[in-house]
């Protein structure tokens, strides 16, 4: 039984880390309508910044600093914000799918950089020896995972609370106005570019935060962590959960990752051993089927966007 609890704690840690990314994307897509297809790029910046800042110096790695965990988290968010701002300056005027193509290209570039900047990132060998907070003090992997789950729950609660405040503020209403009708918003004197850029930077910074949380949980990072499929998994989470709703974004992370893990377990339980080599294909079919069913029955997501965002508006 303790094994099952231990697995579920680990599983929920991953869900919460993914949840931080979905919250970031939800601000960009759900609230503002920005089609960011470069999620893994910002996630990678946060992950590697944290790794470099916190890992102890060692031979062959030129930039390791060995600073405390919190310094790594702050640096990861700062570095991601800076990169997102620069990327945003260049691309934010692009509409819809043009922005998607541009950000996708940038994410691929960032992934290739992590592959090739070997003295900085460890290249394709990966970056090992990233400290996990209090891992040695806590002794067992289970105690660490439990502690980390608590830490993640606090971080997610804080991020969720802050985002809820933001999207319900006048600033948040402008984002929605831009998403619905940019021309109208501009006619009301709002600078669409500025607001879009702000939403882009804040959302991407959360993705960088998630990267820092991920590497200090796993203790290892390599360029394979940032392949494009992750971007589309995150998108699936936000859409299944209900874009435009922060609770939906978190729920989507839970539901989609549960589908991923549960189908894998189901395959080992129900596919005969002789066909285990084909089990992977069965799992992928199941994942696809469940995602399609979710969208057929709940086209607006499991929890859709709330109809109104201001407490001043008339209830309707």
């Amino acid at each position: 039984m303790i094994g099952l609890v231990s697995y579920l704690v680990f599983f929920l840690c991953i869900v919460l880390i993914l949840g931080v990314i979905t919250l970031g994307l939800n601000l960009q897509w759900g609230s503002t309508g920005l089609f960011n297809a470069g999620i893994v790029g910002f996630y990678a910046i946060g992950a590697y910044t944290h790794a470099i800042v916190t890992a102890a110096p060692k031979a062959g790695m030129i930039a390791n600093m060995g600073l405390p965990w919190i310094a790594g988290v702050v640096a990861a968010m700062a570095a991601t914000a800076l990169v997102a701002w620069i990327v945003g300056l260049a691309t934010i005027r692009l509409r819809g799918d043009y922005l998607a193509v541009a950000t996708f290209g940038i994410a691929t570039t960032i992934q290739l950089l992590t592959h090739n900047l070997e003295p900085l990132t460890g290249g394709s060998h990966g970056f090992s020896g990233i400290p996990r907070p209090l891992f040695d003090v806590l002794g067992s992997p289970f105690a660490f995972n439990l502690f980390y789950l608590g830490l993640l729950a606090c971080v997610v609660a804080l991020v969720y609370w802050a985002l809820e405040r933001m999207v319900r503020s006048p600033w948040g209403r402008v984002l929605r106005a831009i998403r619905e009708d940019e021309t109208a918003a501009v006619a009301l004197g709002k600078s669409a570019t500025r607001f879009r850029l702000e939403a882009f930077v804040v959302g991407s910074t959360l993705m960088g935060l998630a990267g820092a949380l991920y590497v200090s949980f796993i203790g290892f990072v390599s360029p394979f962590d940032f392949v494009p499929i992750l971007t589309f998994q995150i998108w699936a989470m936000v859409i299944i959960g209900g874009s435009g709703n922060n609770r939906g974004a978190l729920l989507g992370a839970l539901v989609v990752w549960t589908i991923w893990a549960a189908t894998g377990i189901a395959v080992t339980k129900f596919v005969p051993v002789a066909y285990a080599a084909q089990g992977g294909a069965v799992q992928v079919i199941l994942i696809g089927l469940l995602l399609v069913l979710a969208l057929l029955f709940r086209p607006r997501g499991l929890i859709g966007e709330a109809a109104q965002v201001s407490r001043h508006a008339e209830k309707g």
């Binding site: 579920l8 090992s128 939906g248 839970l254 080992t268 294909a281 799992q283």
Partner: protein, 426 residues
């Protein structure tokens, strides 16, 4: 949807995973061990690696069949719980955690991509003290930097085999001063590092190490830096297209024609590109195909079972990874990770009785282990002996170029390679 509904959904998701996780805890006892004995498997059954993984997974299943037909582990049948990592680190880590915590496997075989194997070692197998044997992950750092705490092994030779063979051949030819020009990839960097480790101990000296980036029109600058210390020979590690340019510039600037080459240059295009008459003193290294009765027995068993041959990357090494776990589990005093880890080192004990592949040989091994005798496993990849880092070596061959023909000079057997490893690493 309200907060309540959301909490309900959350509970539902967790419960679903939990429900699936519990079922099927088979319980029969034999020798104080719960039957069946489970071994975890993680392979990229889908995704970009899927085409090569199918045969690898089948090879793992064949090994489990052979173990079961040969008496299983401590009287229990063995069950392979195989999960798909989809080539994605988070998916692989989740699968590994599930296998270790819920299925309670004390040993895992997997996986292929180094980017998935790395996080599994760091976050699951090493902290939980579970043995992990990979058929296919080559990144040298896993076994070198000590983070696996001795729980990670792999059954395929790393680039170290070729590098040590190269150093040995350079020393054997009496070339004291060698310059290295290498391609700036993890392959080139690893090769250079291992040659550097071995050559001084075998009586040679490295005068320069120059990295190059591929697809440049000219490499004069690199060649001049390599030539500066007047080396007697050149070791060129790279790929044929750029190597042609480098060798031509090296020779035209007065470099020695005694050139050592890696396996990629064992192609006609390279020889023709440089010009055969310039290469009569050049030589190179490659990994050699393992031969022997235990290899043939595996190949025949695979063909008989699946109806097609066992050629392909990872097929032989995967069989040995599972067999190593099966043998080690029989040797270990109990089925915990630490005991199995120590036992893995005893499957190829000095002075042990030789055991091979297939169910009958496994039965023989189990019998010997029961009697308290040492065994020496010869697998689908030949004699399987892990070094201090958990790596294995393989046979190598030395080739030469005579009047434009690429000829095998001689083969370095796996036993000779193991002796060479001991000489270099102590």
């Amino acid at each position: 949807m309200s907060v309540h509904k959301m909490l309900a959904a959350l509970a539902g998701g967790v419960a679903l995973t939990a429900l699936l996780s519990v079922g099927g805890a088979g319980t029969a006892q034999a020798q104080g061990v719960a039957c069946p004995v489970k071994i975890g498997g993680i392979l990229p059954l889908t995704g970009s690696m899927a085409p090569i993984t199918k045969k690898i997974a089948e090879s793992a299943q064949l090994a489990v069949e052979h173990i079961n037909a040969g008496g299983g582990v401590k009287g229990c049948p063995v069950q392979l719980v195989l999960r798909d990592d989809q080539g994605q680190p988070t998916v692989g880590v989740d699968a590994a955690k599930y296998l270790v915590e819920v299925e309670r496997v004390p040993a895992i075989t997997g996986t292929i991509s180094s980017g998935v194997t790395g996080p599994i070692i760091a976050s699951v197998t090493a902290p939980s003290r579970v043995v992990q044997i990979s058929c296919c992950s080559t990144a040298s750092a896993f076994t070198l930097d000590g983070r696996s705490q001795g729980y990670f092994f792999r059954t395929l030779p790393t680039s170290k085999t070729q590098a040590f063979a190269t150093a040995s051949e350079i020393a054997k030819r009496g070339l004291k001063k060698t310059a290295i020009i290498y391609v700036n990839t993890d392959f080139g960097i690893d090769m250079t590092r291992f040659v550097k480790e071995a050559l001084p101990k075998l009586g040679g000296e490295i005068t320069a190490e120059v990295a190059y980036n591929d697809n440049q029109p000219s490499y004069r600058a690199e060649v001049q830096r390599a030539l500066a210390a007047r080396p007697e020979s050149l070791l060129l590690i790279g790929f044929p297209k750029d190597a042609v340019t480098i060798v031509r510039e090296w020779l035209s600037l007065g470099g020695s024609p005694k050139i050592a080459l890696n396996n990629s240059m064992r192609v006609k295009d390279f020889v023709d590109g440089v010009g055969a008459r310039f290469l009569n003193e050049a030589f190179g290294m490659d990994n050699a195909q393992v031969q022997g009765p235990t290899v043939d027995a595996f190949n025949q068993a695979f063909l008989a079972k699946f109806g097609y041959d066992s050629q392909g990357p990872g097929v032989h090494t995967q069989y040995d990874a599972v067999m190593a776990i099966g043998l080690a589990m029989n040797i270990a005093k109990d089925l915990t990770g630490p005991s199995i880890k120590d036992a893995v080192r005893q499957i190829h004990a000095a002075g042990g009785a030789t055991v091979g592949t297939g169910p009958d040989e496994f039965r023989k091994a189990v019998g010997l282990i029961r009697e308290g005798k040492a065994i020496k496993y010869h697998g689908a990849t030949g004699p399987l002996e892990f070094d201090a880092n958990g790596d294995v070596t393989g046979p190598a061959l030395v080739w030469k170029i005579t009047n434009g023909e690429i000829l095998v000079d001689y083969t370095i057997s796996i036993e000779e390679m193991q002796a060479l490893f001991k000489k270099v690493e102590g």
